[in-house]
Each structure stands twice: as C-alpha cells, then as structure tokens.
Symmetry: C2
Subunit: 873 residues, 2 copies
Amino acid sequence: MANSKYVYFFGAGQTEGKKEMKSLLGGKGANLADMAEMGIPVPPGFTITTEVCDLYYKNNRSYPKEILEEIQKNLVKLEKTMEKKLGDPVDPLLVSVRSGAAASMPGMMDTILNLGLNDISVLGIAKKTNNERFAWDAYRRFIQMFGNVVMGVEHAVFEEALHNAKKTKGIEFDTELDANDLKKLVDTYKKLIKKEKGIEFPQEPKKQLQMAIDAVFGSWNNPRAISYRRLNDIKGLLGTAVNIQSMVFGNKGETSGTGVAFTRNPSTGEKKIYGEFLMNAQGEDVVAGIRTPQQIEQLAKVMPQCYKEFMDIAGRLENHYKDMQDMEFTIEEGKLFFLQTRNGKRTAAAAVKAAVDMVNEKLITKEEAIMRVQPSSLDQLLHPQLDPIAKKKAKIIAKGLPASPGAAVGEVVFTAEHAMAETEKGKKVILVRQETSPEDIEGMNAAKGILTARGGMTSHAAVVARGMGKCCVSGCGDIDVDEKSKQFRIKDLVVKEGEFITLDGSTGEVFLGKMPVVDPEMSGNFVTLMKWADEFRKLKVRTNADIPRDAEVAVKFGAEGIGLCRTEHMFFEGKRIKAVREMILASDLDGRKKALAKLLPYQKSDFTGLFRIMGERPVTIRLLDPPLHEFLPQEDKEIMELSKEMKVPVDKLKIKIAELHEFNPMLGHRGCRLGITFPEITEMQARAIFEAAIETGAKPEIMVPLVGHLKELQNQKEIIVRVAAEVMDKKKKKIDYKIGTMIEVPRGALVADQLAKEAEFFSFGTNDLTQMGCGFSRDDSARFLKQYVELGIYDKDPFQTLDKEGVGQLIKIAVEKGRSTRIDIKLGICGEHGGDPSSIEFCHIVGLSYVSCSPYRVPIARLAAAQAALKNK
Amino acid sequence: MANSKYVYFFGAGQTEGKKEMKSLLGGKGANLADMAEMGIPVPPGFTITTEVCDLYYKNNRSYPKEILEEIQKNLVKLEKTMEKKLGDPVDPLLVSVRSGAAASMPGMMDTILNLGLNDISVLGIAKKTNNERFAWDAYRRFIQMFGNVVMGVEHAVFEEALHNAKKTKGIEFDTELDANDLKKLVDTYKKLIKKEKGIEFPQEPKKQLQMAIDAVFGSWNNPRAISYRRLNDIKGLLGTAVNIQSMVFGNKGETSGTGVAFTRNPSTGEKKIYGEFLMNAQGEDVVAGIRTPQQIEQLAKVMPQCYKEFMDIAGRLENHYKDMQDMEFTIEEGKLFFLQTRNGKRTAAAAVKAAVDMVNEKLITKEEAIMRVQPSSLDQLLHPQLDPIAKKKAKIIAKGLPASPGAAVGEVVFTAEHAMAETEKGKKVILVRQETSPEDIEGMNAAKGILTARGGMTSHAAVVARGMGKCCVSGCGDIDVDEKSKQFRIKDLVVKEGEFITLDGSTGEVFLGKMPVVDPEMSGNFVTLMKWADEFRKLKVRTNADIPRDAEVAVKFGAEGIGLCRTEHMFFEGKRIKAVREMILASDLDGRKKALAKLLPYQKSDFTGLFRIMGERPVTIRLLDPPLHEFLPQEDKEIMELSKEMKVPVDKLKIKIAELHEFNPMLGHRGCRLGITFPEITEMQARAIFEAAIETGAKPEIMVPLVGHLKELQNQKEIIVRVAAEVMDKKKKKIDYKIGTMIEVPRGALVADQLAKEAEFFSFGTNDLTQMGCGFSRDDSARFLKQYVELGIYDKDPFQTLDKEGVGQLIKIAVEKGRSTRIDIKLGICGEHGGDPSSIEFCHIVGLSYVSCSPYRVPIARLAAAQAALKNK
C-alpha cells in the first residue's frame, strides 16, 4: 500500500494522469487529465482513484490514513496553483465534486458545484466579484445540491421553499429573486436541513469536501447504480473515481458564459460544429430552458477570440479522440475553459454518416467505423419513426414490450377480419388483441401495427410482426381488451373501436391519438458501411422467410440465403386451410392422402416462388412443425362455420378437436413426430420441394424439425431420399439437395454426434432450445421472467439474448459433437437470437457457419457479425 | 473359412458341442450337447451353428459349398449311429428340425417333426411298427407342419380339410380317424399344397431337409422375430442355429409315452417334481387337452423303471444347472429319452421360494439367489391378483396401460364424489374418468381401482395410484367416457354406472363383471431374500410419500427415508383447498399472507405426522411445485360453487382463472418460480417444516424444485435459512437441516457445478428431466410414443425406463459437475424411474446415493439395487 498512488493532479502543466488510466481514474478523470496534458484549458483539480472506492468499502466505509493525507496534499497543491484557499473569507477557492467511473453510469451521484462556500466566504465572493446576487445564488444552489445529494434531504423540500419565496414576492422566475431574497432563502434552507436531518449544514469547507467525497463513493452502491450496472451488464469495475476541480463561472457578467457543443451534428452526422451557449449563465441554465440559448455560430460575433479558440480546440479534440465529441465549456470573464469532453451520443443515421465520413477523412479505419455503430440502432434506419419532438409532448397511455420496431398510427380494430375490411376501405388500422393466433395473420398483415395484451418478445404476434417488418407492441399488461364491447381499457381510460392510437414498437409505448411519423431513408452511407461490414464478417447472414415478399425484402437487405422457411405459415391462407383441415379430419390414410394431394400444388407454387427470388442462394425448408390443433378453430362460432363448410357434424368436429387437445402443445405431437406418425405429410412436402426445385434449378436444404433421436431423423430421411429419387426419376433431372435437422430439443444437442451421421447441417432453433433447456415457455414466462430480470436472476430475457451459460452449453456440445462425426457439417442458427448482436457474437465464437434472422434484422446481423469478427480476431 | 466348423454332432458318445457354446449352438443346441455329454439319453442329432445363419444372409440366402458338405457328412454320421437311413423304404430315419437362438425367441419358426416321411417310407414305417394308423397319422402331421411353416400354406387350409374329413365321417376327435381316413387326408393335403403354392409337396427327404433348414434360417428375419428382438432388447446375436435330431415316438403303443415336468412347483416353488404325462401319445397331445394327462407320480406305477431313471436324471439336471428345470421327455417302447431341458419359468412366489430354498440346500449362493428373481415380478407378491384360472375364461373388453399393479373389482362410478359416497355405503367401486386431476384424489383413494381413457404410465392417475398402491389402468383409448349419461362405451358395448367391472392393473386388462381376486401373502422367504439384497446393494432406497399412510407402508417395505414429499398434495383436502384458493385469489401481499397463515397449522401438522413415522430417517420435502391454476376449478358449475363459498363474484373468479391460464403449464409459472415471485409461500412452508422438525426432532432436507439457475436457488435458500434461524431462535432449539435442489430442468444439470455451491444435495426429477430433455410432455406423448416404441425409435417408453443415452447424459453431467464443486454431495433420484430396475442399475453405475420410489416399489428397488451392485462388481 505504501507504494500506491491514490490521487492524481491535473491542469496547469502539472498533470499526472493519462487517458489510458480510465479504469483507475474513471472516464471523466482520464479525460480531464488527457485534455490538460494536451494543453487544453481545463480548470485544475485532482482525481481520487477508483481503487480508493474499493478500499473505502473494504475498509468498512472509511479510508486509510495515507489516503486522507494524499487528498490533503493535493488540495494544498490546487490551492497553490489557483492562488486561492478553500474557505478563505476574502477570495475562497470553490470546487466542484463529481463522480466518474470507467463506464458512464447515470445511477450514481453526479455533481456538486460551488463547494467551499459558507456563511463567511460567500461574503468574500460577493465582494470579490462585486456581485452580491451571484454570490448568494451560488451559495443557495450549493446548499440545495449538498443538502440533497450529500445529506439526503428530499429535493422537493428545497423546491417548496423556493416556490414559496417566489410566491411571497409574486414573481415567476428564479432570476427575479434578488440578493436579499436569496440570503433569506439560504437561511430557510439551512433550517430545513436541520429540521429534516437533525444536524447543521456544515460550515467547515474541508468537512464539506470530505462529506461530498463520501457521498460519491457511497453512491457507487446505491440501488439505482447497482441496478444500472446489472441492466447494462457493467462488470469488473473497482468503483468510481472522484474528481475535485476548481470552479469557473459563466455567470460572472457579460464576458462570461457557458455552453455545450458537438463536433458534428448528433442527429444527422453532418460535419459541422453543433451547439448552444448562453452568456452570463451557469451550465444548468442552458438545460433548464428558461432563457433561449444561442447557436454556437453566434459566439463568433459575441466573443470572436473565444470562438476561434473554441473551434480550434474542438477540432483538436475530435482528431485526438477520433470520434465525435460532446463538449462542455465555460467562459469566465473572457477566458475559455473546457469542463468536459466525451464521445457524443448520436442517432443511428448520425452514427453511420460520421463513421463513413471519418473513414473518408482518414481519421479512422474501416474497422473502427464498423465498431462505431450500434448494430441494434440500425433498426431506426429501416422503420418509420415517431417524430422526436412531437413525441416529447405526447402522453403515454400504456407501455408494453418493444416487440417489433417502427411507429404506427391507426384506428383501433379488434378482429383480423375487421382489420382487413377497414384496410380495404383505405383506412389505417391498429389491430388490438388479447393475443394473436395463426388465424390472425392476414389481419396482422393488413394492419399498420399490432398491440397485444399478452405474450412476450417471442410471442406469436411479436415473431410474425418482426417477420413482416411491422410495428408491434406485445405483452402490454396494462390494457384490458374487451372484444365483445369493442373497446379496451387502461384503468379508467376507455379506447373504443375507430379511435386513433399511435404505437412506438421500438420502445413499447402506446399513445392516444394520431402522431406524426417520419419515414425511413436509407442513405448511401448505410450501404457503404454494410459493404465494409461484409468484408470483415465470417458469419454468413440468412433470413427467416416463408413467403416471396419477405424473401424479397431480405435479399434487398443483403440476406445470403433463407435459413428458415416455415412451411406451415403457408397453410393458413384461404383454400389451403380447408385442405389442411380436411387432412386433419380424415379418418384414415386414404382420406389424408386425398387432402394432401390438394395441398401439393399450393406447396409447390410456394416453393417455386421462393426459389425464383432466392436464385442461387441456399434455401432451408423446415418440414411441418406445429401441432395439428393449431389449424382447427377453437371457438364455437368458428366450429359451426367449419361444420357447414366441411359438411361434418359439429359434434364430430368437437370430438376431433378435443382429441387433438394437448396439455402442453409445446411438448406435444409436433415437429418430426407428425411426419413419423403421418409419413404421407412428409412425402407430400418433399414432393412439393423437389418438384419446385427441379423447375427452378434451386438447391434446397430440407430440415427435419424437433429431432431428439437419431432414429427420428433416419425415419424422415428415408422418406425424403425416396421421394427425391422418385421425382428426379420422373422428371429425368438430377438436382443437389441437403438433408439436415434442427437442434432444438436438448436431447438432440446431447446426441449430436449420432445425428451428424445423417444430417448434413444443423440449424439451432434457439427459441425451443431455450424453452426446453431452461424449462419455461415463451408464451407463459412473461408472468415471471420480467421479475426474474429485475431480480437479476437472468441478466437479460433469454428469449431476446441467448443464455450463453446454459443454452449456450447445449450449442457448444452440439457443435463439438457434430463436428466430431462430420468435420464439414454446416451449422446455423434460426431462432430469434439470430438477429441479436450479443447472441451473434456467441455464434461467431462457437464457430457457426451462419445466422438467420427476420428480414428487417439482416443489416443488424451483418454489422454485428462484422463486429464479432473484429472483436474476436 | 476352411478352418471353421459349422456343424456339431451330439448323442451316442460322439458329442462335439459344449454348454458354453450357447452363442454358437443356440440355447437348445448347447443344452442338447450338454445333456448328451452328461450321459443323459438324448436322441442323437446335430446342430448347424448360428454362424451359418449369418453366412446364409451374407451369402444372399444361400450356403457356401463346404457347409452343405458338412451337413451331409453329419447326416451320414447320424444315419450310421441310428442304423437307419433318411428315406429308406423299409426302416427310414425320421428327424425333427428345430430353430434355437442363444436367447429364447417365440417369433421364429419352431419345430418340424417326422421329417423324412414320404409316400414310400410311410409304408415302411407302417410295416416296421406294425401300426398303419400311426404311420399315416405321422405322415399327415408332417405334411401339415411342413406345408404350413416351410411352404407357407395357411394353417386354416389344412384345418378345414381335417374338419371336413371328420364331418363326413360324423366323428368328433382326430383320434377317431382310422388309417384309411388319414391316407385320404394325406392325399387331400398334397393336392391343397399344389393348389395353393403351384408346386408339389417334396417327396425327396434330402430336399425336405434342405427346405426345412432354409425355413428356419429364413424365420430369423421375419417381422415377428425382428419385432420380438426389438421389444425384448435382444441384440448382438449372429442368428439362429438349426437342430436336426432323430425322432423318437411316444405313440408307439402302451409302452410308449410322453410328458413335461418341472423339478420344482413353478407356482409355489415347492421342492417336488411337478409334471404330467400321457401314455401312447405325442408331445402335442399333452398340450392339446383332448386326453387328460396323468400326474408324474403315476409313472411310478405305470413304468417304475422309467420313473426311477427319470427322477434320477431330473435331480442330476437341477444339480447341474443349479436352477429349476423345465423338461420334455418321451418313452419309446420302454426306453426313456430327454428331448429338452431349460430353466423353468415361474411365478414370483415360486422364484423367491426356490431361490431361498436352493441357498439353504447349498445349491446356489446368496448372490445367485438374488439374481434369480425378476425385481419387477415382486409386484405380484404385494398386490391382490386375479385368480389365474378364472382369468383364462374371462373376456377382455378393453386394454389400456398397466399403470398401477394389482386387481380390483367394483361397480362403475364416474365422479370422485360418487366414489366417496358409494364407498361410505360400503360398496366397492371403480372410478372411471376421462383423466383424473388433483381434485379427484379423495375419490381415487376411496375407489378400489381407477380406469382412465387418457394419460400415460406417468399420468396423474398412474402416479397417484402407484403411490397409493391402488390398481389403475390408464390411457385406455378404447373406452369412450360419457360422464353426463353416466356410462362408458367400448365400440357397441355400453357399461353403465353401477355395473361391475374388473381391472388387472398389472396387464392393463379390463373385464366385464366380477372376478375372483386372490389376496397377496408375504412369506418369510420374501423377507429373507430382501435381507440378502440389502447386504449387497450400494444404493439406499427411499420412498416418495406425501402422507403418513404412504410413509407407513413404505417403511414396512423397507424404505430408508423419504426421497420426495410433495407438499402440494396436502393442499387439496377439504379446508385447506379453501385457504389455498384464498391465497391465490388475494389481490395483494397482505391478503396472501392472511391466507397463508391459515395454511401454516395444516402444513405443520402434515409434517409432524410424517416426521413421527419416519423417526431418524431422512425426509426430503419439496417446496410447492404445481402452477397455481391447478388449485382452481375450471368448470362453470364448480366456479359458481366457489363463487358462493368465497363470496367472490363469478366474473372476477373467471378473470383470475383466465389470467392464470397457461399455454404450456409444464413450462410455466411453477416450481421455485412461485417461491420467487411469492416469497411468502416459501416462508410459510419453511416455517411449517422447521416448527414440525423442532417438535419431533427430525432432520429435514428441504428441496427447491425446478431450479435452472444458481440465483434461483440462492433466492430461495436465503428465505429458508432466515426462517430457520427465526424459528430456532423463537423455540430456543437448534436442529440440523439440509437444503438442496431438484435437478429436473436441463439447464440445472448443465450448471450443476454452480448449483452445488449452494445445494447440499441433488435429487434428479427424471420425469421433468425427460419431458424437457426429450421435449415431450408425459400427458401428451401417449399419442405418438406408443408408435415410437413400435417403430423402435425409442426402445422403451422413456417415462418408464430412463433414456440413458439422452437424459442419462444430463444426469452424468450433473453428477460430475456437482461432485467437482462439492465432493460429498448427496445424490438421489425421485422421478418415477426410481422404481424401475433398469433405471436403478443406471443410478448405481453413475454413483447416486439413493433412489426414491412409490411405497409399493420399495422392495423392487431394493432387489434391483442389489442386482445392479452384483452385476457391476
């Protein structure tokens, strides 16, 4: 310990830290040191390291003596540098105290300004600045901040006193309070603190400082900070650093001012300084919105010298950090200070443009450009968005899950039929359902957006909507859907059929009324960045698409094949569903074969359509998967209709439906189990695939679902191979095809070495693998998974981000075992996780060949795959 | 090949085979060789090896020349030995041809007798034996057998001709046909063969022999034989052997005869020759039942010399094979021949008595005695059985799954309430349900037996019935239950409420009417054998028991603890269910706590009861597992009743029930997920356990169900540990307790190294582990699993016999990982598999500490565990 250094000075040519010391000094501290080192005017100060935070906790919330001494030494050094003393009655040093961990962390205590003021030094400041009001306002603000964040007095307590003061005087704005008013307010504040906490506001500046430092370290482990770290997966940090910095004031008169600026436009990415400032103001005034700030360009007129210096430094900072900077500055009596700089937050559009521009400017490499853009943010570029300004003013009436991104505005309808009817009339509608079922597909397609009361991120509504690239908010438990009375309810609010609502599928928010929507625009920069990403990624990116329209969208977005074509989605349309039902209701093999013969031409034309669009690209077709009861109606009215249509007595229908009922359909008679008990279904599907492939010259990959046992695969493969030979014989043409299997049953992963004897490829169905591996159904887990994530049992919803620790083990086992039998086995993933960046990185690491995701996530997957490759070089 | 020997001679001092050559000569061939070697009079012959069968198939159903030559050489040798020639017109050699693999296999071709007869040699035999009728009858029988099994003419074709012959003559029995009739019949038979098959019955004896040999080898791969091997898990055999043996005749007059005998009584195990014989008869006459055979003791009077020799040889055989023998013998003109001996099939009672007796006789060791008894057969000793003679005559009206063994007779009732009401009146009832639910428990308890139309071997009905030791036939798809009309239907048969039916839960058979039932009797031999088993087994045997009655039964059967006490079963009784429902319907924490406070004393008294019975033995208590909706009624009528009782509006109740509805309850809000979202439930249960344990001095083991993630276990453990401390503090008494977890979610097995940090024991819940690992629900899989087993996809129903290849891997992983963290972790199994002998062997091999099974399977588990230990020494 004796050799350690716990405090690092910065500024005035005495800087000790370096920007590489981020884990020790925190992001803010390292940046301040770095700026000071660059010769940028930074108010001097010092940083207490993150190690001290760690020791503070290990030491039962106290400090070893050496550390206190080191802080004291640095304070003296700062006093010398500034030629002022903390608590000096005539010309006191004032400091700010700020937290700053290695990662940005909104949950912690942020800032205390003006520390060092007390009943005496306030008078010195007043005299020194010749501005009594400034002095008392600074003191008032200090007590309020300190009282709140250090001493724990509710913010509202101070606000009420402030409000009363203004009311008494009959004024509206804080700025209308004069020195005397503020002096009184200071007195009131001090009394309030005493009353609330039973102790006096500390007058001794060193005590103020120590208490502020304690508060910063204490805030590291407050519940908000802990939960923020958990939610954002921030791990392995020692703690926060504390930055103590001499104060500069932008409100010392007309040659003082303060502002914030970005080196490029954070909305568009345009390479042009973008910022605002206010003369004679403190930082918080810019944010508070009481006075309207000026555009940064105006500074050139107001203080040309400062402006030139500012522009010069901003340029240096961007070049230095090689990224768009978000800067805070203050001008104190004509002198410019930089208080902070950091990489600026930006919209996806800005991120893409800035990244591409910077490569062109030779500021960064392509690799760096790729790493600069958050893959998931690309969604913004592909979907309509709510106008951000309108959104700020709008009232959220409910919040559900952000199931499928984009924005949608429309009249509320409650049934799929109604959605289709209204859309045909040219209306825009939002389909609101308790939950959707496969029979709603056409209605979902017609609607602009979908809102459901139940179901998670991978519920039927969510999955289908994402496939369609359609806005969807699912699992919105706040709403109470009453289809019969054609209305839904949110507590006391009733929304009726025909009323307008607006959905934000990117956030899960639901708004009442119509809101303006901004259409997406895909720029050339986007295309450029995607091209670069393609140069680096190792994973191929395919799409999950069942119909030509989806396939077309996906190809436009760069899909290199279809990783999952679900054949059953094709079964729900018009005449097909009739033939499907005939098959299900047939009492014997002959009846089933007759119905299947009717389905064959439909299936064949489906595949022909897909094959034509995909051309040379591989297309993986999954054989029938869902349990048969999904194709039968469940409600009396529909059963009656079906009875008439099919000329089957209602009673008989009901018996059949009851027979097919399953307690746990997820674990029931589905997947290859259907093809094994009804081999004629597999036969028909194989025939349709091969006939279509021969016509189009495609190379289909046929995938057997839900395989857990080698013999299941053998059984189905035998049928497929036989039908292939029959069709090729008949058509006198040979084609290449592959047979593979889903790995979605845990047992399948465990016996992958056996399966690979027969399977030429594996595709991981991570939805089911998660359901069975973790033992919770995606439809039912909403009830507890949300709480699980809140409690930190799972870091993230395992249906969104692959559970690497558990389900990931099954994937690793299957990859290893599969390769042990068949070295060149093709390995892909086609669950929802195929479009999730963190899951994609996992796929890259375990060495899969491709990921497959919904069409609108293809660009995200391409970028994420490139980032995974760069990160894991 | 030149060095190989393909044919082995036996008899007349020239025996070449040995009993150790069973895999080469088949069981029959090895035994014949062995008997011949012992000097027992066996008609000489030779055995063609199983290798020839293998070569026959490899050689495209033909034989290498050397083999044909070797057969010819042995035939010549046999002719020399017998001093007769095949096809000789004066004194022809006749032979039998029999199949015989290394394992007994009813699916194959069995026997051809009298081979060598033709139109000419039949005359020689007639003359030589001076018995024309005998000769023509032998010839007639030979053509019929040969025509059927070798040439493939339907058995019925010959039977019809025989029937016509008798009809024409106006007689009833075959024996009434004279030589002339038989001569005509031979002619008819030959014509029928020509008509049916287009070829003549072969007159050349060598051709007859070759065709018979081909037929035996051909039968090795007929569908029945293949399916028999699959069903009985017979693997790794080369094929069948063929035994060609000179014929001896028991029907050559009054000094000839034939019989079958056991060295001990196969029903009781009594050490006394048990058998029957008929003079002047062939083997099939004994079986056919036309003449009544005599008891073997009578032979002493009829042919004292033969009897003495027979008794002497029987004794030698038993001593030689050290097991009860099942023998066939023939006396030809005063000379005794043994045709076959094998270990005799026996009842469980006989098996136990014989095994124990033989140890006392110093014939075998204790280890051998233990291996002699089929564990699963012990069920017979513990449950009432149908009278076997009555059963032979009874008509089976339906067949379901043998869900819980024993027999039951009673009047049909359709509801649990009715079952209880009738039982109170002193009636015996059978509860017939579509499927049972937890609410039926009391009714199931009241009934003598349970019959359900749906649900597999591990359905609710099956599991609960086995726990109660009550007869149950489940998944009886033939019956169509109509509760409303109070009847069930099997095709055209209607069975009404109040009619008597009889169930055999050991076979799944359902009979109409009352049948006599034999009560079980546990003999001292049983107790002795169990004691020996306990000396050798390594696995402890515990029981699954929820209530004192079950625990008492299990302790009586030797249970060493409770491996699984399901706390929820206690919730369904009378007043408790009300409190449970109050808890579920409570809208807030306070409401739940109030309801839980009412449940606490019930739970406590449940545990006190169990702890008192179990004394020092460990008791593992599983916290609440099923989803809450299982405790609410689903039908309108019951909901109305509940509404009145609870004073909650029907609408509100329905909303709550709908809210709790789950698509896949198996993968829903259950297990520790309940305890995590409602920690107050865990608290109440922990409190009840600890208060009861302190009162009784028990050492409870608390088991957290459905854990998939370390943090789930930590969450629940924290509550349990806290409550334990609180209760011990309050009662001022310390007790030992353990906290562990179920391993039943695949993820749990995969992260077992982490779980073992917190868990002091694991208990494998192999029902759920199978459901989730294989991805099929036990309730729904009946629809396809039966076919799966028929198709050989799974060798056995994985809910009955552990799927070692798949689910077994998860267990192995969990055992290894668990021990890697906590070397002395206690490992058990509490799924249904804990009572299945083959699964128990697996548990022994992977090194579990104990198995836990339903009370009535405890003896089975004890014996199976001993056998596992002996087999895997």
